[in-house]
Symmetry: C2
Subunit: 362 residues, 2 copies
């Protein structure tokens, strides 16, 4: 079998980790990087003169019209990324993307286009870094009827909140620490406010419940206002604060309850134990009960593992079908309901959830 | 697309749960049960007169030569199950099995046969019940270089050991309790001695490291001799005793270290928190770090979720390739080394492992 030819869009944190994995001495078999598109390709190429056999370009057409079998998109943001993914599928390429915003908004259309084209669109890297939650929900637990997902989906916010708990510092200090470690952007608002987690949760609602949900329909409370006093109060209750994304589906009523908010969770629960940029999820099914997954939710190397796993799935079976999602909107989407602020939310969640968050008592 | 026609071999705990899922009012779309083979079909058929459109048989040929697209094997044990799986593949059927013994001994040959026949052999249900660890290791983390798996793989032993911890009872009382709840066989030796976990770990060594390992090559210490005094001593150290299966691979040396034994683990680790028949695993990759998975490791309904997920994967893409494993034997297989008994093993494991078992400190 000829190796899969890969063109990469975007040489940033994730993109450069993917390049590293594909070009070093212990490179992944059957995967060949042929082209890198980056707006600053001229500069970056000079810093990587050792990359032989790889053509750098600043013209997107060079990548989309190349002889690549697969386009790996790690640019991020809605446009031009979404249009380029569409162009790639139309040009007969399969696509692997780490782009949660594009999949949350356009995933349904793009998957349909991919199926029509007989190509694959894979996006394990869009949620949870190396934690294989897309496969767990869409494939491994496809045989269940899923009813709820509760998860830490934003590594940046988790690094900030767990730092506040570990060092009793103020949120600004924790943000600066996360920035120093490379876990947080200069402007961490999209992370702390919940926008990043809402996009990921919207995708999971499609995969788990077959529901068409936009990120904007998911209620959110910002974690930016969490104070060290809040963290201290949680600690006195044996808890710690985490940004949780929660979606539960009542199929009989076609009602979805979905929100992202800072919540006090038991210290020793799967969520309390997720520190730094880790992600974690509890997926509840009508037949299997609760399935937990956890792992590095951010960072170039971890996210590159998800990208390479998707590439290997395509290499293994280029004609495989990635099913187009058949989604319908829920009749009703609920957010926080009557709960007035996150402190009340915290205690309410904890009492409602603690029995399932903690392992069932024998 | 025509629905997938399914013939089931064995109407026991898992088999009857699969039948339940395929024939009730909210049956899974695209999956049609056509035939049930069971040695006691004559008796069982009378108890299930409501199963319309399903032919019962006591003759294996009726199932293997029927018009079924897929054979679901839930008989267990090496023979005749392995031979029947072979016959099914030769007859052009895909096969879904929950049989860890067959896959541990014959998986490599059977997967090769399936690939030659252009059919699929899937076995998510053979390890971890509903916990999708086969997909996590073989697919979701295929993009990493895995170096270690530490896991609770036997639900029965976990139910016994966690019961001893929760109620401070003797092991015989805990075994009787597990039998009452349906978690333990009349003879729980294969579970407590580690034979069940060794078969599952041998399969995982193939999937994760590409190594050909037989269950007999994996060192084992029985959990049958754990006393309530051992449990008490562990508790004083903030630990609890679990049967762990551990495999780590040094690729440079082609050395595999593999064992199954009762080990003291921190109470709040992913393993300490797994109670009752739960399973849990920490999978370490060179690039992604540690990925955790956990969930119901036993029980008909949970295991049926894994079977149905495999059936849906086949229904989605009947021509998909499940890669035949290309395995090689390790140069060297190590067991416990110089560690003389499980109590020493316990403390040694705990100190060596606790930093990674517990979430990384921020």
């Amino acid at each position: 079998m000829s190796p899969l030819r890969i063109a990469l869009l975007g040489y940033g944190t994730v993109g450069s980790s993917v390049v590293h994995r594909l070009t070093r001495a212990d490179a992944v078999r059957d995967l060949t990087l042929t082209r890198i598109f980056d707006r600053r390709a001229d500069v970056k190429r000079r810093a990587h003169a050792d990359l032989r056999g790889v053509a750098w370009t600043t013209r997107i057409e060079d990548a989309l019209c190349s002889d690549a079998d697969v386009i790996v998109e790690t640019i991020g943001g809605l446009e031009p990324a979404s249009g380029w993914i569409q162009d790639a599928l139309r040009a007969g390429k399969s696509v692997v993307t780490a782009n949660k915003q594009v999949i949350a908004r356009d995933g349904e259309c793009l998957l349909r286009l991919a199926a029509r084209q007989g190509r694959q669109l894979r996006f394990e890297a869009a949620i949870g870094g190396a934690m294989p939650i897309v496969r767990a929900v869409a494939d491994g637990l496809a045989g269940d009827r899923l009813t709820r997902i509760v998860a830490i989906l934003n590594g940046t916010t988790n690094a900030v909140l767990s730092r506040m708990d570990a060092t009793r510092c103020a949120i600004d200090d924790a943000i600066r620490d996360a920035q120093r470690r490379g876990y947080a952007e200069q402007d961490p608002c999209l992370d702390l406010d919940g926008d990043d987690a809402r996009a990921k949760l919207a995708i999971l609602c499609g995969l788990a419940f077959g529901l068409r949900v936009t990120p904007e329909e998911i209620a959110a409370r910002s974690a930016a206002s969490v104070t060290s006093a809040d963290v201290e109060a949680a600690r006195r209750d044996g808890a710690t604060i985490r940004q949780l994304a929660c979606a539960s589906h009542d199929a009989a009523d076609s009602t979805l309850t979905a929100w992202v908010a800072p919540v006090a969770v038991p210290r020793h629960s799967i969520f309390g134990r997720a520190t730094g940029p880790q992600n974690a999820a509890l997926i509840t099914g009508a037949h299997a009960g609760e399935i937990g997954v956890s792992g590095a939710g951010a960072g170039g190397d971890a996210t590159a593992v998800a990208v390479i796993s998707d590439l290997l799935a395509i290499a293994r079976d280029r004609a495989a079908i990635v099913p187009a999602l058949i989604l319908k909107p829920p009749k009703c989407i609920r957010g926080f309901g009557e709960i007035a602020d996150f402190r009340i939310q915290i205690s309410d969640c904890e009492s409602r959830m603690s029995d399932s968050f903690l392992a069932e008592a024998v």
